[in-house]
């Protein structure tokens, strides 16, 4: 279907819904609150807007029916309370009225049904996809990988986690799956939720009108730290997205000689690389350091930390890598300035060292995880989540310095 026809139809629908939308908006002021990042009434892309139109319609109808029923209840109860009137005629009903009252809701609902039908199929459309991203859920974080797509300059796969980076104004198709239990991917501003089911691949279209950052949260109960499994979708203009792609594919930058960061690299090679891959990192003997999370983590993967500081969050997007005001700078940026600010990544000044250090010191104390080494019998000794590593404070200093170089 051509884009022209699509938008024409959308326009038609928007007109058709204008009245109900007004009513709905006035009843459900919930939709107009400020600063609620997961508000379902603030669509920021065409898929979410489609849903929102349906929401306004059905909330509007529900509101009107609700008002009518309330009036009916109040009138009934005041008019017919026992004022000493005689016991009324024992009439058993009026079939004509009954039938009318059955048909009216049926008619209203069939109108809603028609729009719903169209909405469902519109939202399931995948034919005109422009960019595909694989999204994999795992207890309790999301992994994003970008299959090779020459049109977007992606010559080798990009892998990241926590924040989904996508071009604005583009029809992005995410293909969701999971490595362990069912999770659900939900960025309310961009689309409804879709479960990530292990063994299945589900598709969901995301579209953001403008650059910006959109919050989300895993919405299928996925075990202990379900409450700590968040995600953010970052939409960049197409140029900024190209920059981001180039940056992600750039070669590994070794830390400066004799710096704290270089010592941090050694600590990383010693401790972290068991699970966390950093593409291009080499062992002391010059061979590539390849992580083997499948040997240590039950689900078989851990976040890839290449270009770690190009992201703004860590640990399932639950904590920020940016200090509060630096974060505010990014989140509140106008859409034309947003890309530049986001692409700055995390600088040493902006790094939220408090939380990062707390995490390195004792991750399971910060986020409930199945990481008690004495209780790993059901998983054959493998962890679910990051264990306590007993790092010394000086090791943590070194690691923080090293992680800051991963940009």
């Amino acid at each position: 279907m051509s884009r022209h026809a699509m938008s024409a139809r959308n326009a038609h629908r928007v007109r058709a819904l204008a009245i109900t939308k007004l009513v709905g908006a006035s009843i459900f002021l919930a939709g107009c609150a400020k600063d609620a990042p997961q508000d379902v009434f603030q669509p920021k892309g065409e898929n979410a807007a489609d849903i929102n139109n349906l929401q306004y319609m059905v909330f509007g109808i529900a509101g009107v029916v609700g008002v009518i029923m309330t009036v009916l209840f109040v009138v009934t109860m005041t008019k017919f309370r026992d004022k000493g009137q005689p016991i009324p005629e024992q009439s058993h009903g009026k079939p004509a009225l009954e039938i009318t009252l059955t048909i009216i809701p049926a008619l209203i609902l069939s109108v809603v049904g028609v729009f719903t039908f169209r909405g469902v199929f519109d939202l399931a459309e995948t034919k005109d996809t422009e960019l595909v991203i694989n999204v994999t859920g795992q207890q309790w974080w999301w992994e994003y990988d970008y299959p090779v797509q020459g049109d977007w300059g992606i010559d080798k796969p990009i892998i990241t986690s926590g924040q989904l980076v996508m071009p604005a104004g583009t029809k992005v198709l995410i293909r969701e799956t999971s490595r362990d239990v069912i999770h659900s991917y939900w960025i309310p501003a961009l689309n409804g939720k879709r479960d990530a089911v292990p063994g299945r691949i589900h598709t969901l279209r995301l579209h953001a009108d403008n650059p910006g950052i959109y919050a989300g949260q895993c919405t299928e109960f996925c075990g202990l730290s379900h409450g700590n499994m968040r995600m953010e979708a970052v939409a960049l203009s197409k140029e900024d997205f190209a920059t981001w792609v180039t940056n992600q594919q750039a070669a590994y930058k070794e830390p400066e000689k004799d710096s704290l960061a270089e010592q941090g690299e050694a600590v990383f090679l010693n401790q972290c690389v068991r699970c966390h891959q950093v593409n291009g990192l080499k062992k002391a003997d010059g061979t590539a350091a390849i992580a083997a999370p499948d040997e240590n983590v039950y689900a078989g993967a851990a976040p890839n930390l290449s270009k770690f500081m190009s992201r703004n969050t860590f640990a399932g997007a639950t904590w920020d890598l940016l200090k509060k005001d630096c974060r505010g700078n990014v989140w509140d940026a106008k859409s034309e300035e947003f890309g530049a600010k986001y692409l700055e990544g995390v600088s040493a000044d902006c790094l939220n060292e408090v939380d990062l250090r707390r995490w390195l010191r004792n991750a399971p104390a910060m986020k409930p995880m199945y990481a008690d080494p004495t209780k790993l019998e059901p998983t054959d000794g493998k962890y679910r989540g990051m264990p306590y590593l007993a790092l010394s404070e000086s090791d943590i200093d070194k690691l923080v310095a090293y992680l800051l170089t991963l940009k």
Partner: protein, 373 residues
């Protein structure tokens, strides 16, 4: 209700409990001694409960008791069974746990029957009532347990015979056995004068034959094919051999009941292998597969020749010898217009050794790169 007999058992319970507590406090709470005393206490409590429940197995009025005592004790097989149970128990400890368990079963069954029999036979002076009483207490347990035992004996004996004889003889034997049962049934109905002993004898012969054959075949073991199968595991699916697997999946479409689980489709058409990703219709040169994730890749053959899809997934070192081995996974040979599925779970990133590959043997020079980030 505290009856005379139960007083004794309750006393033992109390003493044993006190002794156990003392033992645990003074000696060692985890010792076998504490367990022994505890067991004694609970056993005595159980017996005490039982005796007070059955009112010491005594009758209610003095008059009845006298009358009951005058009744000659009926012959009973239960003491014998209890004795056999004890022997089996002891014997079982030394030899086989199954004998031990059977000993316990015999002991419990014999004990319960004996107890109830004894209680019922002295309940009143009316022997009809006594036997009714016994039935009332024991029939609910005897009937189903006897039925279960019969099912068990038949099922086990019959299955031993079937396991011993050949597959084709099995079906025949099965027909013969069931027809015999039917025929005997009809015979008995049609010949009303062939009742009583004759039927009993017939049934006994049948039962003895079945159990005997069961024991004989059980000892002589299972038929050769089954023994072999258990040892060789020869029904397991073969990996990418040169030939088609004899037992290949004839209807792979049924296995691919989840179209939504498919990550990519590789189609062979006119001698060319083309990959498409689900969700995108344009052909791609590389496939990206998330690591440690079960994914299905569909292989569709549109050529007249048979083909199979092979995934080359690097090398692994065999632990004992240090020899490097290729890691491969493949579909069955797929004929024209057939679909097959390859389920992959790749735990290792392709970062180290470069991309993995899909190849279709017979279509040389065509590789589809597989990235596992």
């Amino acid at each position: 209700m505290i009856t005379t007999g139960s007083k004794y058992f309750y006393g033992v319970t109390a003493l044993a409990t006190i002794a156990m507590v003392l033992y645990m406090v003074l000696v060692n709470p985890n010792d076998i001694g504490a367990v022994a005393l505890g067991s004694l206490a609970s056993a005595a409590a159980l017996l005490g409960g039982l005796t007070s429940f059955t009112r010491d197995s005594t009758a209610h009025t003095a008059k009845e008791a006298v009358a009951a005592a005058e009744q000659p004790a009926p012959a009973a097989v239960w003491p014998l069974i209890v004795a056999i149970g004890i022997v089996m128990l002891v014997f079982g400890i030394a030899t086989n746990p199954i004998v031990f368990v059977l000993g316990i079963v015999a002991l419990v069954a014999g004990g319960v029957e004996w107890l109830v029999q004894d209680y019922a036979s002295r309940a009143s002076s009316d022997s009809t009532f006594n036997s009714q009483l016994r039935g009332r207490l024991l029939h609910p347990l005897e009937f189903p347990v006897a039925a279960a035992v019969i099912v068990g004996i038949i099922a086990i004996s019959f299955s031993r015979i079937m396991l011993n004889i050949s597959k084709s003889a099995g079906a025949v034997v099965f027909i013969i056995v069931s027809s015999l049962i039917l025929v005997v049934g009809f015979l008995v109905v049609l010949k009303p004068n062939m009742r009583g002993r004759a039927v009993g004898a017939l049934c006994s012969v049948g039962a003895v034959a079945l159990i005997g054959a069961g024991i004989v075949t059980g000892i002589s073991g299972e038929r050769a094919e089954l023994v072999e199968a258990a040892e060789e595991d020869h029904y397991s699916h073969m990996a990418c051999g040169a030939e088609a697997d004899k037992y290949f999946d004839k209807h792979p479409n049924n296995a691919v009941s989840l179209k939504s689980a498919t990550l990519a489709t590789i189609t062979v058409r006119d001698g060319k292998a083309v990959a498409t990703l689900s969700g995108l219709d344009t052909p791609v040169e590389t496939v990206t597969i998330p690591r440690s994730n079960n994914v299905q890749v569909l292989f569709r053959n549109m050529d007249t020749e048979e083909h199979r899809l092979v995934a080359e997934l690097g090398e692994k070192t065999v632990a004992d010898t240090g020899v490097k081995e290729k890691v491969e996974q493949c579909t069955q040979l797929t004929s024209e217009d057939q679909v097959n599925v390859l389920t992959l779970n790749i735990p290792k990133s392709s970062e180290a050794a470069g991309p993995y590959k899909f190849i279709v043997p017979g279509l040389e020079g065509q590789e589809i790169e597989v990235y596992v980030p």
